[in-house]
Assembly symmetry: C2
Amino acid sequence: MTKQAGRVTLPSEEGFVKETIEIMERWGADAIRDSDGTLLDAEIKALDAKIYTAYFPTRGHNEFISRHMEECPQIYLLSDYTLARETELTVDLLQSYYKEQLDVDYLHDPKAYWQVTDRTTGQLVPEQHWHVLEQEHKVVIRQALPWHEYTVSFLAYIKWDPVQMYNHITNDWGDKPHEIPFDVKQPHTNAFIYETMKQWLQDNPEVDVVRFTTFFYQFSLVFNQYGKEKFVDWFGYGASVSVAMMEDFRKEKGYALTAEDFVDQGYYNSTFRVPSKTYLEYVDFVSRFVSVETRKLVDLVHESKKEAIMFLGDQWIGVEPYGPYFESVGLDAVVGSVGDGTTLRMISDIPHVKYTEGRFLPYFFPDVFFEGNDPVIEARQNWLTARRAILRKPIDRMGYGGYLSLAYKFPEFVDYVEQITDEFREIHAHIRRSKPYTGMKVAVLNCWGALRTWQAFTVAHSLYSKQAYSYYGILESLSGMNVDVEFISFDDVLERGIDSSIDVIINAGDAATAFSGGDVWKNTALVEVLREWVYGGGGLIGVGEPAAVSHQGRFFQLADCFGVDKETGFSLSTDKYFTQPAAGHFITEGISGFDFGESMKNVYALHSGVDILEYSRGEIHLSANQAGEGRAVYIAGLPYSPQNSRLLMRSLYYAAGKEAELHRWYSANPSCEVHAYPASGMYAVVNNSQEPQTAAVYDGQGKLSEVQLAAGGIVWQEIRED
Amino acid sequence: MTKQAGRVTLPSEEGFVKETIEIMERWGADAIRDSDGTLLDAEIKALDAKIYTAYFPTRGHNEFISRHMEECPQIYLLSDYTLARETELTVDLLQSYYKEQLDVDYLHDPKAYWQVTDRTTGQLVPEQHWHVLEQEHKVVIRQALPWHEYTVSFLAYIKWDPVQMYNHITNDWGDKPHEIPFDVKQPHTNAFIYETMKQWLQDNPEVDVVRFTTFFYQFSLVFNQYGKEKFVDWFGYGASVSVAMMEDFRKEKGYALTAEDFVDQGYYNSTFRVPSKTYLEYVDFVSRFVSVETRKLVDLVHESKKEAIMFLGDQWIGVEPYGPYFESVGLDAVVGSVGDGTTLRMISDIPHVKYTEGRFLPYFFPDVFFEGNDPVIEARQNWLTARRAILRKPIDRMGYGGYLSLAYKFPEFVDYVEQITDEFREIHAHIRRSKPYTGMKVAVLNCWGALRTWQAFTVAHSLYSKQAYSYYGILESLSGMNVDVEFISFDDVLERGIDSSIDVIINAGDAATAFSGGDVWKNTALVEVLREWVYGGGGLIGVGEPAAVSHQGRFFQLADCFGVDKETGFSLSTDKYFTQPAAGHFITEGISGFDFGESMKNVYALHSGVDILEYSRGEIHLSANQAGEGRAVYIAGLPYSPQNSRLLMRSLYYAAGKEAELHRWYSANPSCEVHAYPASGMYAVVNNSQEPQTAAVYDGQGKLSEVQLAAGGIVWQEIRED
């Protein structure tokens, strides 16, 4: 077979032409990119490949911004909680912030924009009771109430780009200048950004693709007094704030934002918080503004006959690929870092672009590519998790980033990438843009809905979180499962009901978070719609604390559907008799041993009709219940593993009443999965594990055959129509 | 040494005179009692011993009550949650209740006393929308909202005494008549009770002590449709309700009680619920009424020159030994079942009686005294746990119950009880009513305070509860520890501040329960008082979810004191750096391995100053923090064990800043404890374990000596003054 080429983006660097050409051929790369810190030789740019260049619209021009420091991006910060021991109290504003990153904003009147809050009562301190000591960065509160804690919410300027800062500190870049960011909302900056872009486009005719890294507003990334990360929220809109933005918002909406709308008691509107109406309106407002500004840049790029692609990360705030304004931006493509199946789907499902690209791991940096380390380990893990998702919804291109010269020193790594780039193209060749077989449609229901498609349960891009991994596993499982997935919000359900295409709804998360839903479960309209749907035949899966809020004798407000509730200490007096696991059940067939991750305590069955599937430590962790014509399944937690993915899949088929359809394009071995593409006449059996596997495989008619798979292997076969 | 006698009550039975005399001598008994189901021979009654006879004021007279069934006690019951699928809905009232126990009350107008509630909205259904089908025990709701759940709260009559019912069902008594209870609040019953008592006193001149078992209102004990316990609450006032009681309450208080004040969303005012003001007023109202009626019976007994003692259990509701009316009742004594150290202290600390008596386990019933079983096992366990508490605050008498003839068949048991009755009298002889040495005073702070002295974290008398044992262990530890203990309520603190005698305050429990406190922690006055006290030098210990309510960015409202808070999912974006356990610490000295029971998840340190004493699974389970001049200790859970008792003790001394005083009357071996009685000049070293122990013992000046102890042994020594 002739070597296929294409769909692969290769990083290069100066003085590495010959090797670049060699790797380019081996990996079949058709595009070459620079990276943060690397430049491309003219010889490289002249090759028969698209040239991608990273472009940073809001940093790297200290000569400009240092003359307009009032145009740095802003952020609302919360001081430490400070205890009053007498009636006068001094609060140190920057005590636990990194002064190299942040300056207090004294340009705008503190009395107009700051808030001093008694956190014991929740009341604002009247402005005549506090004053600012500007030289010391302190606020003095008079007439404080002793033994109350106080905070000051204040506006700050971000004077060091957080991404560059992160790299600078992490890589110990010493006296390399700090790149000062600037805010597109401000007049000088706005003009500067477009002028600079125009000039750059003129100066870089050889560039085919402008890789925006990224646009205007950084996700929240704030450092502490030791120069270490203090908080990070990949979805945080905190650094999009400015007096100008707030004033425009007030003019449009007719009400003013306050500091508390941003600092949110110190939670900074984490996506785990049930978003307030105000915050959602702010997100929408910023997104609309950003889309307009972004469009201008994209138009300039297009006018230069180049492509405009966006890196999904860093200053991506306000672009919202699943938001209402994304289509209007007119981007050609989105590229994102692939951490796992979930993040792959977050990229590959993005609508309104010509293509998507995944940047795979490991990044070619010395933290992985050092002597004695084997970069293939991370590469293999990354590929196998991502491949599951690619087989459901492929990204169009793949690539790497960093120093190619580093990777080049690891021939086994070069070999492995050659293998997977071939495999990637082979996937595309077989499925030919056709839709894979899906057994049903699953909807994930939370406060955020489609806006946070494949972004639920995430603190920072594919990073572990103790209180999220047991829910994130749901997404990771779904990312490579033969089901259609959509993300719906409570507002969607309240406004439009439940779409008839949906087979199963999943609600998951810790109580009171945006993912479980919190007080929305006291909204009777929501409960009515869901009950009617379940009792009418719908499938419901709850993980952790679904539909949970303490109200009228229930903790799970859909306890009637689940047949289980969580004991929160109030009904200990009521005997709980149902502890006996079912003798055998469709859901647990072939599943041995359970891992519920952080799990959930004190869940019990309401009646004898509940199928208890796992009971230990005096509590239920897995159960199923018939509710009218429908079914509900409760799972205490679902960290990702092939076995848990299988457990979820069986739960979905059971909840949907589609048990008879499970054995279609199905592997009895949980380490293997089957993906069929009826329109292209092919199906793939993949081994997601790093050991050889034998899989009993059911085809679309349920006919069984045995497939042998190498470690991490994939086997393509034609669909036979009998 | 001449055999001591006294302080022991022996059960006897018909036809067992010779053996009774033998045992009486061996155990040194000076009182003889009958039990439920046994009678005493005339020869026994003539012995030189006090004669106790059980007396049941409100049952055992079916000939009377069957003519006045409208005078049975009542209870508010909640129907099952019933889902409306259309606009008409039928709710089955007795579907999950035991019809042999309960009758629906149709004598009083359902529209006046029942409530039909939409549990989805929490709204009452207007009375014109529902009607009763009396024959079928059903309620029909019209204009129901589909997909809402409804309940009916209705009045029922209790027609079978719950204690007799329990014994009847458990022992399979067949067609033995069901004893019908009657309510002292009702006119015929009230007259009957006193007439009957007068007659009985006349008829039983040989009785010295009337052992009331008990008075008028049974704690909540309701059975389900299968004749099994449905709910049990040892503190439940549910069965004290009646139309007459409610009407009197309304007249006095000026507002009416409703069904919901009792059924409480199905939680039936469990002590774990934060009690409403209404419920507390009702408890007080009933207690006052009961004390007046009880006083009348006690007066009759006293007029007959007999003693009146109360069994603390069964129909004890409203007597409240730690309540404001108990003194006025004039009882001579209280006797209660000893389950452990906590229940012993619950008896022995009761004020306003001449003496207290503990009924030890095992009860002489065939469930323990059968061939092949060794009753000594339970007896030893019972004695060793109780003895710790006896050494702090002795009960005055001990005794047993049941069939002496059964116990007599187990000579090793008879031997063992001979040994412990001697030991019991020896304790009294040595301590001579003097107060033991205590190192400090500890206050347990919750919603109930003194009213529930030694009764916190209890569902039913000394029964295990999954969600309580990790807190109950605090009481069990304290029951035998050399500290003074008192129970204070939030209202106490709000009204009177914190008494200067208190060294350490403990707040413990699951969030939102009456023991942790729930919304009271939003009361800034409470937080102010506690902070001022701690920062001024007080000691605070929090177990589980202390001071917990989600408010203004904190979950633990005293997080500033503890230095730790619980992550509830909202601040996952904030980095948590403090994970390193302290290298060594006073609290954990000599403690190896931890058992936090049900434990608590996701607790983290707020700053580097926190002493982390145990960190595992990404969370803190034990920590200490300096807060001003005071200290706070956090413990994730504390099931009882000698080691955890020691952990708590060290935490108390640390929190109080009294580390230097720990080694006074202290055993380095956690299985042993030292109790000193300076006024009597004696101290005891006890081995609480069932293995021999060697203990390094510190005396009152901190001087060390080594003591050898037999399994379960006790050694008395004179205090030497140097």
